[in-house]
């Protein structure tokens, strides 16, 4: 199968305490279409740096990133956002607080496209947004609510919807349920899994949660000190138990 995203010998070096430190230390990774990869690792393992490198928020010290065989290593975040979307851990990072839910969704609908000097025509999209949120009890009938008035769970659900409203080629989830209470976290994770499977999205999900790591996805990667130390396919992952992963922490 042709790879969607290929990371070729990615190295990210920072200068810290009078020495060079490799946050990413020669990462090689190939992501196929419809892969749902769970990335596990301790703090400082390089998980978020890896996502930053993929989105273009951070540039690699060396190595290449190819999307559909096109070298995007030098493309900036704005250009990559056309194909790659991301949901952050902090619910506040993914939405615009002084805009309504509908305004945020409209903003996301034009992800990666040029912003022209023409009226945004919000009303033309309201029916679509109503349809989009109708099965979500947390956001139903809240299209005109300012985002700053929403709870953390509602904001994170909105962030997730914003990431998928315009189908991304690659969806990146950066511990997107970690800042929520257990029940909300579980509900959002179930929604995430359902949407990814239904829409056949390609996804890279970073998590600290061993239960999530075992339960979701068709591939598991463990990062440690900037290196991939474990890479399990669907079959191997299905036999995995949570305690098997403890040795990597």
């Amino acid at each position: 199968m042709k790879s969607l995203l290929t990371i070729d010998n990615a190295v990210k070096t920072i200068y810290n305490d009078n020495q060079n430190l490799n946050i990413l230390d020669g990462i090689n990774l190939s992501i196929n279409p419809q892969d749902f990869i769970v990335v596990l690792g301790t703090n400082g393992a390089g998980k978020s740096t890896l996502l930053d490198a993929i989105t273009g928020a951070n540039t690699l010290t060396s190595g290449k990133i190819l999307l559909n065989d096109e070298d995007i290593t030098q493309k900036n975040l704005a250009k990559r956002s056309r194909y790659i979307s991301r949901v952050y851990q902090d619910p506040k990072l993914g939405t615009s607080p002084r805009m309504t839910v509908a305004e945020n969704l409209l903003l996301a609908k034009r992800r990666g496209l040029p912003r022209r000097l023409r009226l945004r025509r919000l009303n033309d999209h309201m029916e679509q947004f109503k349809e989009f949120t109708k099965d979500l009890p947390t956001l139903d009938n809240r299209l005109n609510t300012f985002t700053e008035k929403l709870s953390g769970g509602q904001r994170q659900t909105l962030s997730f919807l914003m990431a998928i409203i315009q189908r991304p080629e690659l969806l990146l989830l950066d511990e997107h349920t970690a800042a929520l209470d257990p029940q909300t976290s579980q509900e959002l994770m179930e929604l995430t899994n359902k949407v990814i499977l239904e829409k056949k999205l390609t996804c890279l999900m970073v998590t600290h949660n061993l239960t999530e790591a075992v339960k979701y996805g068709n591939r598991l990667i463990v990062l440690k000190k900037g290196k991939i130390v474990l890479d399990l396919d669907k079959e191997a992952k299905s036999k995995l138990k949570e305690q098997d992963l403890l040795e990597y922490f």
Binding site: A57, A78, S85, R110, G112, R116, L119
Partner: protein
């Protein structure tokens, strides 16, 4: 009565500057000190152009453009050279002091030509000080209309998103650097335009007339927000105008109580500090009141 009308007239004209400041201060979340330099820049530009025989309208347009260029300098230092926002504004403001001296050729200049925008279009036939009110309302209406239309475009929404949450805006593919340039330039353009208007109203430009202008603009914004919290943008601009008039009236009352005019800046700063603290004071008062009721 004349004093009150004069105060209201000033409130309307200064409200234009406050609307400009609102773009950086609230929409972009950018504390822009440039305004203390772009305000006299607009005044100096307008006065020198009118003195050289150009029309007051053209003088205001050029003042707007020069103010936008001042904003460009600040935005460039902030976004491209990564100089902190406050410092970038202070640097431009300092540099503009010399620029303004160069434009005027001296520290201040009077408008000796009788032609200015306050006595055109029949405004001079109005009772004293009403020309300022009418002109202020017209310019505010035009700027408000243009601003609301712009902020409802895709680009305008991108500017709001950039000020609201830059991380999100960038991840949506918005060129946040460009949006900051647009916001800071338009803001300083409007501030310089106000400088040009005030110079025409007062009949002179002075390189020091920008000192404290940021306090005046912020006071109008904050008073408007304190009186009318949680309103949509179009209403917010009206509340800024109300805030500007209320601020001027407070100042007038204070001066009428016999305070020394040399203390004007001190009084202005105290009024702004009180307005900024008002939400906290109000919350603590209500908390204490509720606690008192419970204990009874």
């Amino acid at each position: 009565m004349n004093l009150i009308i004069s105060t209201i007239s000033q409130g309307f004209i200064w409200a234009i500057m406050a609307i400009g400041l609102y773009i950086t201060f609230r929409i972009l979340d950018f504390p822009d000190m440039t305004v203390e330099g772009s305000f006299p820049l607009g005044a100096a530009t307008a006065v020198i152009m009118i003195q050289h025989g150009y029309s007051p309208e053209l003088a205001l347009l050029v003042a707007f453009i020069f103010g936008s260029l001042a904003g460009f300098a600040t935005a460039f230092m902030y976004t491209k050279l990564h100089i902190p926002s406050l410092l970038a504004g202070i640097l431009t403001m300092t540099a503009l002091y010399s620029v303004n001296l160069r434009i005027l050729g001296k520290a201040n200049m009077s408008l000796t030509k009788p032609d200015n925008i306050f006595n055109r279009y029949g405004l001079d036939k109005l009772p004293v000080n009403f020309n300022g009110i009418i002109l202020g309302i017209i310019i505010i209406a035009i700027i408000t209309f243009l601003l609301i239309v712009f902020l409802n475009t895709e680009k305008g929404q991108a500017v709001i998103a950039t000020g609201d949450n830059e991380t999100m805006a960038a991840s949506m593919g918005i060129n946040t650097t460009m949006m900051k340039f647009i916001g800071i330039m338009v803001s300083n353009g409007i501030v310089a335009l106000t400088g040009g208007l005030i110079a025409q109203q007062n009949g002179f430009a002075d390189v020091n007339m920008g000192i404290g202008s940021i306090v005046i603009g912020l006071s109008a914004i904050i008073i408007g927000e304190v009186i009318y919290p949680d309103v949509p943008l179009s209403i917010r601009i009206i509340t800024i105008v109300i805030g500007s008039i209320v601020y001027r009236l407070i100042l007038m009352i204070v001066l009428q109580l016999g305070f020394n005019t040399n203390d004007l800046k001190l009084i202005s700063a105290i009024i702004l500090a009180l307005c900024l603290a008002l939400p906290t004071i109000r919350a603590q008062f209500f908390q204490a009141f509720r606690n008192g009721v419970k204990s009874k």
